[in-house]
Amino acid sequence: MFSHLIVAYIFIFICLGLIGLGIILLFLMKISQNKEQQLREMYEQKHHDYFVYIQTHLEDEKALRLPPGKLKPLERRVIQDKYMEWIEQFKGEYRAKMIQLCRDAGLVEEDLKALKSFRYGRRLGAAYRLGGMRAGEAVPALLQMLQKGKYNSLLIIIARSIAKSAQRPEDVIEMLRTLLSHGKPIHHLAADIMLETGLDTSGLLMKLLDDQDPALVKVGLVAMWGQAVPEVMPVLGRLVGSEEKDVRAEAVKLYLSSNPTLKDETIVQLMSDRNWEVRAAAAKALGPLHAAGSIPLLVKALQDANWKVRHSSAESLAALGEAGFEALCQAALSGAGIQREAALQRIELVMEKKQEHSAIEQMVAYNKKRLIHDRYFGVKQQPIKRMPGIAAVGGDYTA
């Protein structure tokens, strides 16, 4: 009995001790954080004139001056943060000047030393700042840090720093290779990291698309979205036939988005691809390409198991003039199930767009479609879709 109580007493005393320690720690932390915050504000105020000087002298040919006086560590950090903020915002010559200023102030050197620290937190902070200062000389050490690290969010911070600081495309590729070696399908994230680089993107993309590693090729393809890089088009043509399913899908999507001329057999091949993404991309492209000869293929694709393929086929049929629209109406009337549904939805959308057709030519095209529509369906409107329901309760949704 007493031994039970003694266990409980020990537990109580441990709790009491830890609570006391915890409260002391909390107040110490709060006081030190608030003090640091106050000091930061004070230093920002103190160097206000210097910051104004930098902004007004960025265009001068002379090198920018260093901050006046002997600086305390926190003071240096406040100035460094401001430099890094500007490096992020500026481009070209202004950015180069700010990067040089970081070097002149010894900030790069300081963080290069910190990169050798025993404490991981210190090394990581230094890595982040070196990236912010675009310190090319830090890249080998950063790459080493990346290679030694376990895959987690912190590794991404190092990777971004490498992308920002790299002076050679090979370093960026090495960074991507290391990042992807963990086997995670992070192509979108890797592409986003890669695009942080200050190097010529088109050269980098060419290297990526030519790489033996499909993962790197995919990063290149993903990174190409939204980028106009005409010189990579021949490489894309080759990748359309790639064995890798994902690579092929991405390449086809990109290739078709550039409105290429397609042979009939290529269209047939793409529309019967095993990958739905390829079929959908092909179906989507056929409308804008005015490939009227592909109407039967698109009508057939209205029965595709994948929604996206059906949707894109219907969209393209609607874009292929009267012949395409008539095929859509026929599918809606004589087809069944998903084919009919996809066709009907598109027809309704086209009919709804009456008000948008202000130009005469568009108005004529619309009216022709209207006539075809009325011939097949009369003038009756499709009722709003109603969904089957199950009984449920309602109420407030707090937390």
């Binding site: 409980a8 537990f11 994230l189 986003d192 969904m387 449920a392 309602g394 109420g395 707090t398």
Partner: protein, 467 residues
């Protein structure tokens, strides 16, 4: 009687050791969280086309006072591509008319609804091309889960995020979650955000401008409670992939998997816990690698109930939902097929969350009875009470330390005093009420009481004025 009392004492100690273990796991991860928060820049990511598009689903039931501010808040997030889908769940107030008026919405004649999850009848979908990313679904009343399912059916993007209509997201909240998703897109099936109490904060233009602790006691207790549950608990559970809940107030999900498990379960509270259990079950049954994660740096501010009746209703509902979920998924208990979920999370939840009130109440009664028989044993009773209080308080202090290490939202020293004080006061009345509400929730479950209870909202403007 004494024996049972001592069993209860040991029960309390074991519960607390488990809580401490989870807390220790949270501590293990806090430095990583702090560093990734400090060193991650979202400037480029929030404008990148490479970030996956998200459909925000906002179920709304009688939210006329807060909905406009919330929709504005959601439409100005730092996120490249997303849509806001507000689902008016047959509100009895003017939720729909105020939305239509404010955003000049018009009914879409033939809306395209791709999903096939059964829901109550959709009366119409409203849209204004001037706000291309905003859609309002008006449907018959069917509950929160039903509304979310209707939102899923209409949504256009591969990721969905459920957000309560009484909550405000921080501008970077969604992009922070998306970053976490992008770091492991294949395995990440759900990510929960950190929910904090907005009562007491200054709200302007749909954003929290000045953070303060609540002035009223009920929201203040909840603020402390949320801090402990989210930072002290969920970071640790997330580390071992044992999270059993992603708060309904703010979570991000892979739509394909939510559809694969049949969407949200309608007809009963606790749908936020239920969807997570279903996701665990599905992924483990199909032997798919997966992760349900918690992202504490993605913050959502919510209006907490500030009167006794409303908070009591809410907690009873949670108690009912928890019991229902445990009973429904009892097959997972101690089942090695379900790994961490079957062997740790579910047993922990049943033994130390669902049944917790019964052990504590009966243990206390046994010790009181024993002491009444022989007053010389008052020490045992006092020990039991002290054990409960001190271990709980220690966990509260530990959670505040986590907050101070990584987030530091509350700047003033007086805030710290207040948090420490309320962490202690919580054990004098509020904690006991929590136990009582949970038991009452269980009774409601047994009586098949299935109502949601009432909830009154306060406009964010009023809330700010009183702050």
């Amino acid at each position: 009687m004494l024996f049972y009392g001592m069993v209860a004492v040991y029960y309390v100690m074991i519960v607390n050791i488990l809580y401490f273990t989870i807390m220790a796991l949270s501590y293990r991860n806090i430095s990583t969280i702090y560093r990734r928060t400090k060193y991650s820049s979202y400037n480029t990511l929030s404008g990148s086309e490479l970030v996956p598009p998200v459909s925000l689903l906002v179920p709304a039931y009688n939210e006329e006072l807060t909905i406009i501010e919330n929709v504005y808040c959601l439409m100005t997030l730092n996120y490249p591509t997303y849509e806001v889908i507000v689902i008016n769940d047959g509100s009895g107030d003017k939720t729909l008319p105020v939305l239509i008026k404010e955003f000049k919405l018009e009914k879409i004649q033939n809306p395209e609804i791709r999903g096939t999850i059964d829901t109550e009848t959709v009366r119409g979908i409203y849209h204004n091309p001037d706000y291309p990313q905003l859609f309002i679904i008006d449907k018959e009343n069917g509950g929160k889960a039903d509304s979310l399912n209707a939102g899923i059916n209409f949504s256009h993007y591969p990721l969905i995020s459920s957000i309560d209509a009484d909550s405000l997201l921080e501008k970077d909240a969604l992009i922070r979650m998306a970053r976490m998703y992008m770091e492991n897109p294949e395995e990440m099936v759900a990510i929960g955000g950190d929910v904090r109490i907005a009562n007491g904060c200054l709200i302007e233009n749909g954003a929290v401008k000045k953070i303060s602790l609540p002035r009223k006691i009920w929201p203040m207790f909840q603020s402390i409670e949320y801090l402990k549950a989210f930072l002290g608990g969920r970071i640790g559970w997330s580390h071992i992939n044992g999270l059993i809940i992603v708060s309904g107030a703010f979570g991000l999900f892979r739509k394909d998997y939510v559809i694969a498990v049949g969407g949200y379960r309608g007809g009963y509270p606790g749908e936020d816990m239920n969807i997570i259990i279903k996701l665990h079950r599905y992924m483990l049954s199909h032997k798919l690698p997966y992760k349900v994660a918690f992202c504490p740096e993605a913050v959502c501010w919510t209006q907490a109930p500030d009167t006794y009746n409303i908070i009591a209703n809410q907690r009873k509902r949670w108690g009912r939902g928890n019991l229902k979920n445990m009973i429904e998924n009892r097959g997972m208990l101690f089942n090695p097929k379900y790994k961490i979920m079957g062997l740790i999370t579910m047993p922990y939840n049943v033994l130390f969350e669902t049944l917790n009130p019964y052990f504590r109440i009966t243990g206390l009664l046994a010790l009181i009875g024993y002491t009444l028989l022989d007053m010389t044993h008052w020490r045992i009773l006092l020990t039991f009470i002290l054990l409960n209080f001190l271990s709980g308080y220690l966990l509260g202090v530990a959670a505040i330390i986590l907050e101070e290490i990584a987030f530091r939202r509350y700047k003033k020293i007086s805030d710290l005093w207040k948090m420490l004080l309320f962490s202690a006061l919580k054990f004098v009345g509020y904690h006991q009420l929590g136990v009582l509400w949970r038991v009452q929730g269980h009774i409601q479950y047994l009586r098949k009481n299935n109502s949601w209870g009432t909830m009154t909202r306060q406009s964010w403007k009023e809330e700010s004025e009183t702050a």
